[in-house]
């Protein structure tokens, strides 16, 4: 049994480790960068590993533990190796330092991760000076390259990386004027609002966006405005910031080029392909895990998804047919979207469309209520989890259409 894993971040390493432990004879881990770890080596803050390792780790520590395990198990890690072609029959063509290599593994796990949403995707008007960075780029420059991105900084978007970088810039002696957020609620984890912004008196302005960037050569001024309920800027609410740097933390998108190349359909809700409870895609022997499948909150989540796939890829038993699971009212996305009918418990992961206090989530088959669970609070920034018990799943039949919806009140 040969298993190939594309992507050497936390998901890819977890998948490779688990496949090897489950008895795969040969596991090949393909990473295009010069080091393993994906984004983790630049995420120097803590908050990783609480559920996966039972310990609060920094990103580099999380990656190092996995990297040491990869080496210990004798997994063949190809660095500086990029998949340039992937086919539905699992054939990969990989560009490596030794030249092109071709392989056709028995199972193929894509752990290809995500990209940051770029400036073009949010259509910020104005000049095109230097000094506009995505948060991840700013993080790479600061933490890996040891460069200073600017002196006076404005952050657009309250995603986790944006808030964490606002704190990091402050600790490096730079001035963060504010963090602006388009939505009426923070985009990242609530804990980061406290420990990254409130701790350092960095203002968080909700329902705001950037309406102009001015500067010749370098950013000199960024103009922000409040937005209305439809997220359109409100005239005469403009406020000018005299900054030299604009950092964008406006979300992540699964990196789907290879997934589309093998013929997988990309879902609008997740931005990734549909999977079943083992993260198997629609194509036999091809699995998709981590942020390449859907954007998760934490490295712990992507690694956990990869463990399930790493195990399934090695055993690979077919089910007796499948049901579909779709998001209903109040639910933005649900994972998995397919259920191979079998009597086991399964954890559904989902995001709500709006913050809700006292939420009740329902799993339904048509009008029939299969199960219900209450939550103290749910937020779009934090993936909800529901381990639906086995007695519910044993009622599900092939070709059933299940919906997950929200019965609750707005915050």
């Amino acid at each position: 049994m040969q298993v190939a894993v594309v992507g050497g971040g936390p998901a890819g390493m977890a998948a490779a480790i688990e496949a090897k432990k489950a008895g795969a004879r040969e596991v090949i881990l393909i990473e295009r960068a010069e080091r393993l770890g994906g984004v983790l080596p630049q995420c120097i803050h803590t908050g990783f590993g609480v559920s996966f390792f039972g310990q609060d780790l920094t990103g580099p520590e999380f990656a190092q533990r996995q990297e040491d395990e990869v080496a210990r198990l004798g997994i063949d890690a190809w660095l500086n190796a990029m998949v340039i072609e992937a086919r539905p029959d699992r054939t990969l063509v990989v560009s490596t330092r030794q030249g092109l290599r071709r392989l056709q593994p028995d199972a193929l796990i894509f752990a290809v991760g995500a990209r940051e949403r770029p400036r073009g995707a949010i259509a910020i008007p104005g000049d095109r000076p230097a000094g506009v960075f995505s948060a991840g780029t700013a993080q790479y420059m600061t933490n890996i390259q040891g460069l200073q991105v600017g002196r006076k900084i404005l952050v657009l978007g309250s995603g986790d990386i944006g808030m964490i970088m606002a704190r990091r810039f402050t600790l490096e002696g730079l001035k963060v004027h504010a963090v602006l957020e388009l939505m009426p609620f923070a985009g990242g984890l609530t804990r980061n609002v406290q420990q990254c912004l409130r701790d350092y008196d960095i203002p968080l302005h909700l329902s705001c966006t950037v309406v102009n960037v001015r500067g010749r050569g370098r950013v000199q001024e960024v103009v922000a405005a409040r937005v209305d309920q439809n997220l359109n800027p409100i005239p005469a609410t403009e406020r000018s910031y005299a900054v030299d740097t604009l950092v964008l933390s406006v979300g992540l998108l699964p990196e789907v080029e290879l997934l589309q190349q093998v013929g997988l359909t990309i879902l609008p809700q997740t931005g990734g392909p549909a999977v079943d409870q083992t993260f198997a895609s629609d194509i036999p022997g091809i699995y998709v895990v981590g942020n390449g499948m859907a954007i998760w909150d934490l490295a712990d989540n992507v690694a956990q998804s990869a463990i399930i796939a790493g195990r399934a890829a090695t055993s690979g038993k077919p089910g007796r047919g499948e049901a579909r699971i779709e998001p209903g009212a109040g639910i933005h996305l649900v994972v998995p979207q397919r259920w191979q009918v079998e009597p086991t418990a399964c954890t559904l992961s989902f995001r709500v469309t709006q913050p809700v206090l006292g939420a009740r989530i329902r799993l339904k088959r048509g009008a029939e209520l299969l199960a219900r669970k209450s939550y103290l609070a749910l937020r779009p920034a934090e993936m909800g989890e529901w381990t639906v018990p086995v007695d519910v799943w044993s009622k599900v039949e092939p070709r059933d259409l299940l919906t997950l919806d929200l019965e609750g009140r707005r915050e």
Binding site: A63, I144, R191, V193, Q194, L376
Partner: protein
């Protein structure tokens, strides 16, 4: 203190705690677990934080910076002075995760340790 709202940062759940009362008798609400009560007591009377940063790294062809962390949380008010000390530190290859980079910073009994291994 009469009433204070806090976001618990012990774990990613981020409970929005309501703390009320005074030093003798006080109450925490909206915590999902017991850790929230400990967190609220500390946060109100002696807030502490983890601290991570990077230091210069010599001797590696690939890596210019070494990520580091403190081996325990420190008082929130000490973050900036401790960061200033860390900024001047330099590490040398080879270094293993957990290796001591700076001992007993500012006499606080707290150590700066490497967050990853750089072997060459």
């Amino acid at each position: 203190m009469n009433e204070q709202s806090l976001i618990c940062i012990v774990c990613p759940a981020g409970c929005e705690l309501e703390v009320s009362g005074d030093g003798n008798e006080w109450q925490v609400r909206h915590n999902r677990c017991a850790k929230g009560i400990d967190y609220a007591r500390k946060e109100v009377f002696a807030p502490e934080r983890e601290l991570t940063s990077t230091v210069a790294l010599r001797g590696s062809a690939l890596e210019k910076r070494l990520p580091v962390r403190l081996d325990r949380p420190i008082a929130r008010g000490l973050i900036l002075p401790v960061v200033a000390v860390i900024r001047e530190a330099v590490a040398q290859v080879p270094v293993e995760m957990g290796d001591l980079v700076l001992g007993d910073v500012l006499g606080l009994g707290v150590n700066v340790i490497a967050s990853r291994s750089v072997r060459e």
